[in-house]
């Protein structure tokens, strides 16, 4: 059993990366020290009963020194409230939760769409620590337009990986989807693909990776109440039949295990 913590974390930095996208840095030593790329946390966005449940967020960065980051988009009332939390405020965080990415030695291709970029930064850093040659690694960052992609490019470049960017509207990087950018790259068959983004994008990546023979890990989402295997609410059907639970069996799965509705 993994050890989890419920911490009162202090917001030490709040960055508005674009109109809807916010990055929070917490002083949250226990969770940060135990975290692993691809894992997530459950954050209590308020103190009252409405909204009642915690909200799940990927761990965007975690430093052994105690700093933990999440990077999120305002899509509803919970994220709105979290976006309004000021520096110095205390927030209850539960984590680290779930099973993260399986880190493999072979060359890596990280593919993130929209807020799916969030877990990849922590992953990129840990991959770069594995004494591998990151010069062979690629990161594809895609989004609807410039503001969803540009603010994160520098963070990835520090690891010496090649950064490719795409936007749906062509306002930054290549015009089009990350799947198209991925198709046009010539990657070795040994390349391990790590992917997070909207369902259709991950479904597409699954098709492309199977065709090319690349392994493909995806981080998926689901509604969650507990985040720790207690409510059985976060089920997803698998190709083999039956269900997995995103919060304990995932959120990272082999893409080919999952059922993709396309």
């Amino acid at each position: 059993m993994m050890t989890q913590y419920q911490e009162k974390a202090v917001v030490i930095r709040r960055e508005q990366l674009s109109a809807d996208n916010v990055r929070l840095t917490f002083e949250c030593p226990d969770i940060a020290a135990a975290a692993y790329p691809g894992q997530f946390v459950m954050i209590r966005v308020g103190t009252g009963n409405d909204p009642l449940l915690r909200r799940p967020f990927s761990i965007h960065q975690a430093h052994k020194e105690g700093l933990l980051q999440v990077y999120f988009k305002i899509v509803g009332r919970g994220t709105e409230m979290l976006a309004e939390v000021g520096e110095g405020a205390e927030v209850s965080i539960l984590g680290p939760l779930g099973r993260g990415f399986r880190l493999v030695e072979s060359p890596a291709c990280l593919v993130g769409g929209g807020l799916g970029i969030a877990p990849l930064l922590f992953l990129a850093r840990e991959l770069s620590r594995l004494q591998r040659d990151c010069g062979l690694d690629t990161v594809i960052l895609g989004g609807r337009s410039r503001s969803e992609v540009e603010p994160l490019v520098k963070d990835f470049e520090q690891f010496g990986m090649t950064v490719v960017t795409t936007t749906d509207d062509g306002s930054y990087g290549q015009r089009g989807f990350v799947t198209a950018a991925f198709s046009s790259l010539s990657l070795p068959a040994s390349c391990a693909v790590y992917c997070c983004g909207p369902e259709p994008m991950m479904a597409g990546m699954n098709v492309l990776c199977r065709a090319r023979g690349n392994s493909c890990q995806v981080s998926v989402e689901s509604v969650m109440a507990c985040g720790m295997g207690a409510c059985l609410g976060c089920s997803k059907p698998t190709r083999g039949g039956g269900y997995v639970h995103v919060c304990v069996d995932g959120p990272v799965f082999d893409a080919e295990e999952m059922v993709w509705n396309i």
Binding site: L52, A225, G233, S235
Partner: protein, 313 residues
């Protein structure tokens, strides 16, 4: 009675559910605490009055398709579909760990026929670790066209009697709130031999995703839980307390010691913490602490003084 432990006053929190003695009145509600192990790094499981595990059926059930849960105002709906590992795997895989905790383990059971209830009970009665059985009677009776056992006094009494006869341990019957008069069902299961009743299970509810013009849950309807239902739960506990003489375990929206004490004032001997475990995994232990502080502050000889002490005159 009050103990002194190294100079620290220890409140007397012991309560009895029939022959079952609990160190304190705080349990975890079925389906909201997994099989307890999920919480082991977050709280001290040994401090709980009892642990009630996820509802167990005769055969494993894979549950409903997603989405299974949706948040509502101060509450949530769930349609898990009674997913569980089945009684055999439960005994092999879960009981050994639970047995190490030194806390009474109560197993919540469900079935779709009297036979199924009897079989599960017989299997569970074999393992020493099970301190009591809690019967979920909110399940549909397949033989009676799917009417819930808990909606009909005769059927509720029949399940109770069936389990009671097969069980070597106390039997708690968990009442459904989706009935016209909960006291009628409570009296029926008391007559059927229930050691205690627990209430309430979830209220049946529904949510709609306007954008998709579809029910938010794949199962269309689900069970409503959380703070939103507390007033209904408290009322039913109070009503049942006037109607039966067996102990009552209060459930529904309990998140704090104050909530728990209100249920005890209304007549509950013990309480269960459900949805609150998701919001605050330490909730149940914090309720134990809070009740202890209350007993000390109010200088009560025992928490038992609180049971049914509501003044209505």
């Amino acid at each position: 009675m009050e103990y002194l432990n190294g100079g620290v006053r220890i409140p007397d929190l012991r309560v009895d559910i029939g022959p079952l003695s609990l160190a304190n009145p705080v349990m975890t509600a079925s389906g909201t605490f997994g099989y307890a192990r999920e919480f082991e790094s977050l709280l001290n499981l040994r401090r709980l009055g009892a642990i009630i595990v996820k509802g167990i059926s005769l055969h494993p059930r894979s549950g409903n398709p997603p989405p299974r849960i949706i948040e509502t105002a101060c509450g949530m709906l769930n349609a898990i579909g009674l997913q569980n590992v089945g009684v055999d795997r439960f005994i092999v895989e879960k009981i050994p760990y639970l047995g190490t905790l030194g806390v009474p383990i109560i197993v919540n059971i469900l079935g779709d026929s009297l036979d199924e209830y009897r079989h599960i009970t017989e299997k569970l009665s074999g393992c020493g670790t099970v301190a009591a059985i809690e019967i979920n009677i909110s399940c549909p009776n397949v033989k009676k066209g799917g009417v819930a056992f808990g909606a009909d006094p005769a059927m509720a009494a029949a399940v109770t009697r069936t389990v009671r006869e097969a069980a070597a341990v106390p039997v708690i019957v968990k009442l459904s709130p989706n009935v016209t008069d909960v006291t009628v069902i409570a009296k029926a299961v008391e007559d059927g031999g229930a050691t205690a009743v627990s209430l309430i299970n979830t209220l049946i509810g529904m949510a709609i995703d306007l954008k998709r013009r579809r029910p938010a849950l794949a199962n269309v309807c689900g069970g409503l839980s959380g703070p939103a239902i507390k007033p209904v739960a408290l009322r039913m506990v109070y009503q049942v307390a006037q109607a039966v003489s067996i102990p009552i375990i209060g459930i529904g929206g309990i998140a704090t010691a104050e909530d728990a004490l209100e249920f005890m004032l209304a007549g509950a001997t013990a309480v269960q913490i459900g949805t609150a475990n998701f919001v605050n995994p330490r909730a149940s232990e914090e309720v134990v602490d809070g009740i202890g502080n209350y007993v000390l502050q109010e200088k009560l000889p025992s928490v038992r003084e609180v049971i049914g002490a509501l003044e209505t005159g």
